[in-house]
Amino acid sequence: MTDQAYNFAYLDEQTKRMIRRAILKGVAVPGYQVPFASREMPMPYGWGTGGVQVTAACLTPEDTLKVIDQGADDTTNAVSIRKFFQRTAQVATTEATSEATVIQTRHRIPEAPLTKDQILVYQVPIPEPLRFLEPRETETRKMHSLEEYGLMHVKLYEDIARHGAIATSYAYPVKVEGRYVMDPSPIPKFDNPKLSNSPALQLFGAGREQRIYALPPFTHVVSLDFDDHPFEPSKAPHDCDLCGAGESYLDEVITDDQGGRMFVCSDTDFCRTRREEGHVGRLGEPQFSSKKIANSFEGICAPEEAAE
């Protein structure tokens, strides 16, 4: 079977129309979970089929697609989704945040500020922020429609009671335009402030759970907290060891079995761009041009490769 057997971006036009209707409804009611008839995709659910369907419904032949997983363009998940759309939609792809028109992501928001010409598509495993304490779908739906969100604070209360502080560091719940409480997908809470007032359109797709929701550009998004335990977007208290960035979200990486470790930007494009601009971190090499974290280790061990 050739690639021509597929419709543009794999899904048939009727399915894409159905998904676009759900997206439009989500845009009209920011933060509201719109049910949609999720389709079987040629990949397992854990691989972001919700995000893939939303991306498929948004793509045009003129688009440039970027796919990231935990901030990196080169993980298996990101690579396979990117290849999928290269094959089924023949769209241009990029690793540069600034060049992309559609960015599908899992677990991160890019560090580089987004623009009004971009769509950020999130892969969502569990769209329901109230699920943790109220498993009944009929009840959570009612809570949303009646704006009964006391339970969300019970979750944060429990966090403080058990850990002395709000320990939720991923999928940190937010309130959208003072109305719907929303799960921003498992992004680190460090990224939460970027949800608010973004010029880009943000779309969220949950495949297995069959839900789509959205933040239109310049939507006001607030992270829930207590007066005496305010929300804090935290990160590791380090600079990036490769590019020296002090304000980016860092991954801790074990470098050898002697307990050696380093902190590097989780956003690989951001880190590379900074290094190409001449920024150098504690363990970095000047003018580093490698695209991949994996390569950057080789770079550290074998400096001659870094000069390529």
Binding site: E148, L151, Y157, A161, F226
Partner: protein, 256 residues
């Protein structure tokens, strides 16, 4: 003259052809405790859940004296009724599992209603929860334990604290002492009696147990096959029952 807090008229709930409860009418005045007794299947729980808005009756009026004046609860929009349910009203279930969040700490259970009405200061919520645990005789150092780690009696007391923390005016209780050991029952009853007296609560309490109503209820309603067969002051009904069924009910406990 004071207005009734709750005025019920002509309340009927059918389950298909079967009668849940039929043509129930009564008034409840502020500070009053109304006991509802009757054999199993007589419609006590059905009536209570219709009053509290958990079930929709087929006919009738349930007029509650809200802050904005008397309102028929059955005609209210659902958001308003649910708001009533977490502010002016409270509902204590027979099985604490139905009324507690078993995966949430005691403090979180008590704090939920506070947070539901907008409390956003962790320290204040915790102080109030600690205070209420004390009032239901649960030690402050149990505040971060889950209900699973509590005995049945403690769970029931926790459920009561969770319900009363927001200062409701009307409390529905369905067999709050059912399923507990006799000595635990007695302690819970004493506690309830103290709370009702100190807080001036109005209560509608369903029970099989005539000892419970004798201790707690100012007035008594006797149900049989979904109908109210007799109602009046508790002492009068128990000491001088008029209806044959009530006489049977009273004599059967006297034999114990």
């Amino acid at each position: 003259m004071t207005q009734p807090l709750l005025s019920v008229r002509n309340l009927t709930k059918l389950y298909g052809p079967r009668i849940g409860c039929a043509d129930v009418a009564f008034d409840l005045y502020p500070g009053e405790v109304l006991g509802i007794v009757g054999e199993s299947g007589s419609g006590k729980s059905t009536l209570l859940s219709c009053l509290a808005g958990h079930q929709t009756p087929d006919t009738g009026k349930v007029i509650f004296e809200t802050a904005q004046g008397p309102r028929d609860v059955l005609q209210m929009a659902e958001p308003d009724r649910r708001r009533l349910g977490r502010t002016d009203w409270a509902y204590v279930h027979q099985n604490p599992r139905d009324g507690l969040r078993m995966g949430v700490t005691a403090g979180g259970n008590v704090g939920e209603r506070l947070m539901a009405v907008g409390a956003r200061h962790y320290g204040d919520i915790r102080d109030k929860a600690t205070d209420w645990l004390g009032r239901v005789e649960i030690a402050a150092d149990r505040i971060d334990d889950r209900p699973r780690q509590f005995s049945g009696g403690m769970q029931q007391r926790l459920q009561i604290a969770r319900n009363l923390v927001t200062g409701p005016r009307l409390v529905f209780m369905d067999e709050p002492t059912g399923g507990l050991d006799v000595s635990v029952q007695a302690r819970l009853l004493d506690l309830l009696r103290g709370l009702v007296r100190d807080l001036g609560l109005s209560v509608i309490i369903v029970t099989h147990d005539l000892a419970v109503v004798r201790l707690l209820a100012h007035r008594l309603m006797v149900m049989k096959s979904g109908h109210v067969v007799e109602q009046g002051l508790t002492d009068q009904v128990l000491d001088d029952p008029q209806h044959g069924y009530t006489q049977l009910l009273v004599s059967s406990i006297l034999q114990v």
